[in-house]
Symmetry: C2
Subunit: 212 residues, 2 copies
Amino acid sequence: MAPWAERLAGVRGVLLDISGVLYDSGAGGGTAIAGSVEAVARLKGSRLKVRFCTNESQKSRAELVGQLRRLGFDISEREVTAPAPAACQILKERGLRPYLLIHDGVRSEFDQIDTSNPNCVVIADAGESFSYQNMNNAFQVLMELENPVLISLGKGRYYKETSGLMLDVGPYMKALEYACGIKAEVVGKPSPEFFKSALQAIGVEAHQLLSM
Amino acid sequence: MAPWAERLAGVRGVLLDISGVLYDSGAGGGTAIAGSVEAVARLKGSRLKVRFCTNESQKSRAELVGQLRRLGFDISEREVTAPAPAACQILKERGLRPYLLIHDGVRSEFDQIDTSNPNCVVIADAGESFSYQNMNNAFQVLMELENPVLISLGKGRYYKETSGLMLDVGPYMKALEYACGIKAEVVGKPSPEFFKSALQAIGVEAHQLLSM
């Protein structure tokens, strides 16, 4: 067998990252990475199951998918595994009411979540919303809880934009961990549970998977 | 000997913390802690050497001493060991030009420091100045250096104000450490060098010291 055919033997599904794999984000909606629109079309035309698995947490899935479709990608919301909906499921299962330290662009994902009288904090890549006031609010919520729960959508250190390197959620997660003497629960890559939920969505086992 | 006399045998000097020991900070200049004005006066009237050793880094020594004097304390600037002047000495010795992520109240301590074309970052309890933009500026300065130097004035987790608990410099130091994969140099308590400089100022050895 050719090397590629060998690597693909037994593969039944493909997980595709979005930012940096399908497109580069930036002003004006970003740009598709050369060949990626065609690659997605060919994968979806093949016998392979395809799932999009992203740590994007500044935008709702609706906004992200809209942006990708405008760039020519064949993609729908229900094909995307993202941290915000995964976090919502955890919040509902555990009866948690979060203080949300998040970007306004992703707030709509939490529309169905009760945020009154918070008993946990959800932190995501909040950008300019990482003000001292908002960080201190999150800190005060955690310090008033007997068992402080901090859920972090990813733990990335930084990402690249056309304007330069930007701090991601990870540093702010570390700040709250240190301030409160706690450990955050990470929802999103590289959490195994997050990958598992993406696999379940396409009915594929880990050993049958190709991820890029 | 009485227990106290026993503990004081051989003691030649006393290090006094300021915030939380001499006074409680807060709106309108804070309030002296009961008995502390008299205690300082008695210590200074005794055979003991007295030094004030603080991690205060939102105010210049001039402002801090002015505030304490208005509360009735017998204290002068030259009796205070504080992180900002200690950091300035390090910056001068090592030819470092800092990007200053600090509170405006302490900026005057750095008047004699060259801050053009920064080759390090100095971080202190910056309060509202811990904006995303300022944190990102500090991060970008560090990421552009071959050997990133991050100097942190203390590493406190939080402190108490009349309005509630407030995040101190430590969490933000941890955020930059994680983002850049580096370790900060802490100037201020609990750094041994910082205590040593306070002892040198009064010519007292560590074993001759009482600290509170």
